[in-house]
């Protein structure tokens, strides 16, 4: 009977009108926002409900942490239920450090550009926007990282591990998630009057602190995915890439739906960006397509915002010319020094 219920709810999902979601008709998916508008555009609209997203970060960056906080903050604004699981630090500290909602900047198409006085030949060229192309009206919100959401606004948040948690094992977390999904009406197999969305974040997966004696991480992800598939929930997992060996990493990536890899920016000439974003794969849930349209993305972190832009490499200048110029400057400097008197 379960598959009949599932297909029935899939066809009716478009009529569900879940708050804070939008339907992708082409892909037959219901999407939720990540909380970062440019990241939603990179992911072709958002994260589909019923999928698991893995964010791998290399070399102790903080972008994964920021993506998690934006994801939770978006859930708070959209009245979604939230479950925060973190084994390395208290999950309550994450909830107390969420960015605050600011008024969305209304998108105004650029009008007529004022005339160029010097580079007038380029006035007819189209303006190139580095931001990811937004195919439809964005349904996400914009947040200010320099301000925090007050704890009074935080509702419907569950934490794991909590006081009643007896262990910090994968099986125990899976049991807790299963209980939340079945008892709070997020399962597609149990009909309820009003549907809501559940956002789950699991931080620092594969940390050495996890107890993996009764269930290893691969089995945990497989069972988690099955659980999330048959529910109105989405799971965002973060992990540090350098602590996972290659075999486990490729198996983990095989079992999740979306893979985002955050790497540090190695090029000193790209100082505007603080890291690179590589899309390992996109969710092919209810559709064939799983490849990203572009792979060259970079993260830009300012005091208030984290945004994703297309990575443009600066022009590669000839090294010999540079050295010659520097030497010439030095010679000039020595003959025209103000100290020569």
């Amino acid at each position: 009977m379960s598959f009949i219920l599932q297909s029935h709810t899939i066809s009716q999902r478009k009529n569900l009108k879940l708050k804070g979601t939008k339907t992708s008709v082409a892909k037959n998916q219901i999407l939720i926002s990540t909380g970062i508008v440019s990241l939603d555009a990179v992911l072709d609209g958002g994260i589909p409900i019923g999928t698991v997203t893995l964010v791998e970060e290399e070399n102790y960056g903080r972008n994964a942490d920021l993506i998690t906080k934006h994801f939770i903050a978006e859930g708070v604004v959209c009245d979604h239920s939230i479950l925060i699981a973190d084994i390395e630090k208290k999950p309550e500290t994450i909830a107390n450090d969420l960015p605050k909602l600011i008024q969305e900047e209304s998108f105004q198409p650029t009008g007529v550009v004022e005339d160029f006085k010097i580079a007038w030949r380029y006035s007819q060229n189209p303006i190139y926007d580095s931001k990811p192309h937004q195919t439809s009206i964005s349904f996400g919100h914009t947040f200010d990282m320099s301000a925090k959401i007050s704890t009074d606004e935080l509702q419907n948040i569950k934490y794991w591990p909590n006081v009643q948690s007896q262990s910090t094992s994968y099986s125990h977390l899976l049991e807790f998630i299963n209980k939340v999904i079945t008892t709070d009406g997020f399962s597609t197999k149990i009909p309820v009057e009003q549907r809501h969305v559940l956002r789950i974040t699991i931080n620092n997966l594969f940390s050495p602190i996890w107890d993996s004696n009764d269930m290893d991480i691969v089995k945990f992800l497989y069972k988690l995915r099955i659980l999330i598939r048959s529910s109105y929930a989405t799971c965002l997992i973060t992990t540090r890439a350098q602590i996972i060996n290659n075999i486990i990493k490729c198996r983990i990536e095989h079992f999740v739906d979306t893979v985002l890899i955050l790497k540090p920016m190695e090029l000193s000439s790209c100082a505007d960006y603080n890291g690179k974003l590589i899309i390992g794969k996109l969710a092919s849930f209810n559709t064939f397509l799983y490849e990203p349209s572009c792979v060259d993305w970079a993260t830009k972190l300012t005091r208030k915002k984290l945004c994703i832009e297309k990575l443009h490499l600066p022009p590669c200048l000839n090294d010999d010319e540079n050295n010659e110029n520097i030497q010439n400057k030095q010679l000039c400097a020595s003959t025209t020094s103000r100290l020569n008197f």
Binding site: F3, I10, K27, I226, R251, F255, S284, Y290, E291
Partner: protein, 228 residues
């Protein structure tokens, strides 16, 4: 090129009507998925034959295949109501797979039956032994009425998965290898599809396509064809 045209072209190459092509291995490399091949076989069975199909969804759910099937012009819900399609999910052991195959043969004592497994390598990652999975493939080979189409994943870092895929594709009558482009991304191709079949011990047919996936289907363009 509409989806039906693509499917008809694939039918000419894969020749699913031949009795000696009972076991089909769809190899997945890295991020590529065998859904298109599994969906092709389901399209063929539902539209060109009257055989029943039992699908074992180890990786994806019924809803995913229903939506994908609608893009390929067949309706799994309709087939389920006609008693031609059954879906079994959350199978995690080889024993359960064998049980599904035996049940399928018992429920349909006459005629050919089709069993489709979306990702047999997942059983390996869930703790099953490689020998037992190969044992299941040998078991299906012994039953003349049972046609098996399965997906098998491999990655350059995972030696065990590579061993399973090599063994499974060696046992299969026809191999379809899907791989992403090695040199990077392209707007005109998602990856390569290589179809290898043994016509006889003296003749191996090898056809390579470049395939491009869209939200609602795919296109194929011939890359190369060799007979050796």
């Amino acid at each position: 090129m509409s989806n039906v045209n693509v499917l008809e072209e694939l039918k000419l190459v894969l020749k699913p009507d031949l009795p000696e092509r009972r076991m089909v291995c769809a190899e997945e490399t890295d991020t590529s998925k065998a859904d298109i091949i599994l969906s092709f076989y389901m399209w063929y069975v539902f539209n060109k034959t009257d055989s029943p199909v039992c699908m074992v969804g180890i990786r994806d759910t019924y809803g995913h295949y229903q939506n994908v099937g609608l893009k390929f012009h067949y309706n799994l819900l309709l087939m389920t109501n006609k008693k031609r399609f059954t879906f079994i999910e959350s199978v995690m052991t080889v024993g359960r797979l064998v049980e599904c195959a035996q049940n399928l043969l018992e429920q349909h004592p006459v005629g050919n039956v089709y069993m489709i497994v979306d990702d047999i390598s997942a059983l390996l990652f869930l703790g099953e032994k490689l020998e037992e999975i190969i044992g299941f493939l040998m078991f299906t080979k012994r039953h003349q009425r049972l046609y098996l189409v399965f997906g098998c994943w491999k990655h350059k870092f995972d030696e065990t998965a590579k061993r399973l895929t090599s063994a499974a594709s060696h046992l299969a009558d026809i191999r379809v290898s899907l791989a992403p482009l090695v040199t990077g991304f392209s707007n005109s191709a998602t990856g390569t599809m290589r179809i290898t079949s043994n016509e006889s011990i003296y003749q191996i047919e090898d056809v390579s396509y470049l395939y491009k996936l869209f939200d609602n289907g795919l296109t194929l363009s011939l890359n190369s064809k060799t007979v050796r």
